[in-house]
Amino acid sequence: MIPVHYYLILSAVMFITGVVGVLTRRNAIIIFMCIELMLNSVNLTFVAFSSYLGNEAGQMFVFFVMAVAAAEAAVGLAIVIALFRNKQTVNINEVNILKW
């Protein structure tokens, strides 16, 4: 039996990797992939806790997170495509009309 801490540390590491990726990368698609990494690390946390506590609410939450992530991907990629058609780029440094 692997202790629950291992899962938690792994998912914390995954989560922070995602956060660092979002903050340092400049390609909209890669940023989006990093966000998905964050969501999946959350899923791992949920499943780990769920099995540790012997309570299935966490697993159910994972289903919802997955479904929502899929819907988010659909809308997000559509937005990226619309942007690419107008600007021919997905680099967020070149997406900068709006600023104060």
Partner: protein, 474 residues
Amino acid sequence: MNQLLTDTLHTAPIMGTIVLALVVILINAMKKDSLALEYWVSLIGIAANIGLAVWAFPLRGSAFAGTVMTGGFASLTAAVFLVAAGLTIILSRAYIEKIGVNFGEFFHLILMGAAGMMTFAAGTDLVVTFVGLELMSICLYALAGISRRVHKSNEAALKYFLLGAFASGFFLYGIALIYGMTGTTNILGIAQNIAAYKSEPLFLVGAGLLLVGFAFKIGAVPFHMWVPDVYEGSPTVVSAFMSTGAKAAAFAALLLVFTATFDFIHSSMNTVLSVLAVASMLVGNIVAISQTNVKRMLAYSSIGHAGYMLIGITAGGDVSMAGVLFYLISYMFTNLGAFGVASIIENAEQQGTDLENFRGLYYRRPLLAVLMGVFMFSLVGIPPLAGFFGKYYIFVAAIENGYTWLTIVGVITSMISVYYYLRVVVLMFFQAPEEAEAPQVTSGGTIALLVSAFGILLVGLFPSIVLGWMGGLF
């Protein structure tokens, strides 16, 4: 089976709105050039759903195994979101034809967004809260980018999407940690044993991450970076819906989560909350001064208003919770109106919401200028308009609960805000117009703006009635 039926009936406003949204999208799929039909179906449906919300008001309790709240608070907030959605739809009819995105999907997305807001604000289980949040957000991402040939709109949608999804990540991680510590995602379940977890570090980290997610959604400093860009770049009616509905939903959910776990919040979180409040009030109101675009100025002002509402949440107690809800209602009418005027002033290229475009508006469109004046005065908080009482109740509650210093900051920043709100008024009334065409005003737009203005006046003249609805909600 009977239980299922009763639960469905008691959550009628949410269910009804979802059904309505599905009907609208079906009409859109089946029938060509059906914009007018969809428009009227949406409006009639919204009116019916407001009726359902009023009907469900006395049915205080919970449905679906304690995951959704019914009646009372849920009905009141549902009615607020439905009014916001209805006014947005009326305003957007002419606007989406002007900017050339006259798709029926527009109404569908607004209705689904409203359903998401209701779910978000009524969820007493974090699963439901999360699903509602995402339903609302995903609709708003799509709405922000709906004029897909305009760079500004693409950019706003991309920024909103990336930062919104990023914030959802924090929100979820917070929920995961709270679940791990408490073994439940039900807010009431968490609240029951709060004393046992109160000082568990992992629980505190979870609650902190949850707060980060909320702060992103309400646009509180330092999580406000997206607000100005998104409000400026999105189609103006969408900004109106976002700044009122989405913000109100996030605040309502915050209220729900935080009133249930009140002792905990009051002991451990109020420093953080008051810092957020002060930072939002200062940054929002001071940066707004230097803006030349009215949409962007309203975005910064909405950051400032999030700060005022955070004072109410920090102070806690029934009076200030009612104050926050009151503030949400008055702010909904006011900001919808202000963005509505901007959407009428705006030209077909989605440009022309600069301060310059408001110069001498009174001489071109007197009614529009007078209405904008009312909205600006309400945002400042001049009695007897609704905005005044919102601020008043929150400040009084804060002083009663010993947060006098927060009130002082609030009053000072309100003084600052007078400058940039009244600048618009001065420009409209006391400056000669340049050579410019008068903007096209449609009857629908006028009606929506008049409704907003009357709402502000009524709420401002009879605040005790509105407060009466909130009696014993918390």
